[in-house]
Amino acid sequence: MQLTNRSKIVSNKKMTLVEKIYLPAVLSGMSITVKHLFKKPATIDYPKKTREMAVIFRGQHVLKRDENGAERCTACGLCAVACPAEAITMTAAERKPGEEKLYREEKYAAVYEINMLRCIFCGLCEEACPKEAIFLTDKTVPSTFERDEFLYGKSILTEPLNSTVDVSKRQTKDTLEFKKDPHFAHNILFDPTKPSKKSTKH
């Protein structure tokens, strides 16, 4: 009795002599192996070597300092309002006299936090920043076991004083053009220690 019609009839065909000695099959397999010995490997020796990242790769953020080492961020909140994931929060504070070397503008971010669990690395914060303070780097965000460790504050995000994070490749053509244009030269800082010719004393 047949329950289904899917059963197969077993073939008991006898192997030929060539098939019986197995040698041609072994040799054809070996030839493939040997061919691969002379090919360029598809992998790299990872921890010793790393692949070059794409210029547009968007990884962990950096809060840049200016050429004098002062923090560029002025806590304007444009990155936070541009962020589609609402990952950025900040608290602004006023710069006190004597802190000019630490902070570029009269207002600065006392607290600047990015929740890396929320961040989708879209780079809109970088695009929104009017002060060229935040950039995404080629560094990937490491994984940890604790949720609160993903809340990156200024201590992690701010560029270290002694080593600069190179973001020159990330600066768009427009940004570089913006810097050169004399029409935008008024965007330079007002330095209260150097009174301008026209400034009026009270």
Binding site: V81, E105, K107, D181, H183, H186, K198, S199, K201, H202
Partner: protein, 363 residues
Amino acid sequence: MAKVTIDDKEIEVPDGTTILNAARMIGGDIVPPAMCYYSKLKGSGGKCRTCLVEVAQGSAKDPRPMPKLVVSCSTTVQDGMVVKNTTSPKVLEARKGVVEFLLLNHPLDCPICDQAGECDLQNLGYKHGLSKTRYEEERRTFEKIDIGDKIQLHMTRCILCYRCTYVADQLTDKRVHGVINRGDAAEISTYIKNAVDNDFSGNMIDVCPVGALTDKTYRFKQRVWFSKPLNAHRNCKKCSGKVVLWQKGEDIIRVTSRRDKNNEVETAEDGKVNWICNECRFDKKQASDWVIEGPTHIERTSVISQNHYEAIDLNKLRLEVQRQQRVQGGRKDIGEKYTQEQLPKAEQTEIFEKQKQLGAYRG
């Protein structure tokens, strides 16, 4: 009465009305922007020239056009006058120039400025200005001055609209600040830093179109588009007590007066202007001081409407649902019948109270 046509829209207004006010009566996009004119302050206007319009026909009796563009805030209408605002390329071009003039000495420090997001000059620049400046000279700079302990004057940002001096003149008992010097050197002065300690001096913060006069108790607390505006009131002996509270989380970080559609301080039903006193503005920052009415209406075009939730307008919602039903069902007759209908007032308040109990308006 005089019949005027502004941008092809006709309106009949009382004699002596200015073109700007006639346009405001029509409302909408045709209203010329104004930086210095403030309808609640007598004598204001005529300084910034942003409200320039073209008069294509002077009046019915004398239909000749006016040879130059006129300031709509201080030109009165005449019967049969034809005014062109947005329909005149001449006006738009001139306004672009005016914006450029206003921005000559204005610093580009919007990322720092507390006014950013609710700044008239910022909005004007976006709408009418160019994105670059041709000015290459050095901008005038001043050091910050404290007017009293609650108000800060940042003269660098001032566009000399004179509104604050009118507040000092007309609202407060004793005028303690005005404008000194002339031309490029003109500046708001407090006569040797005399503290402005009138009860209503804080209103100069609200009338300031830029960030020149700012609330020191709010300084750098929060960007305006992250704070939540709520309408609230309290019993105040000095003022109307009707204000807008700006919250950060549960904390009240700022108190301002309520604005009308022209971005001026709102007028109450009895005709009084809802100026608020310094006590309400600077000292009452506990939620327990206020009776909260609900979220303030914010225009969708404003950046403050980011993450801002408002009470649902049930009538609008109902009309929208009906419009959609009409479109889907293709039954025009039903839809049009319903669009005329309004939800009864009693039913509206009932639903509002229910939503309130559920905590829908906690902001």
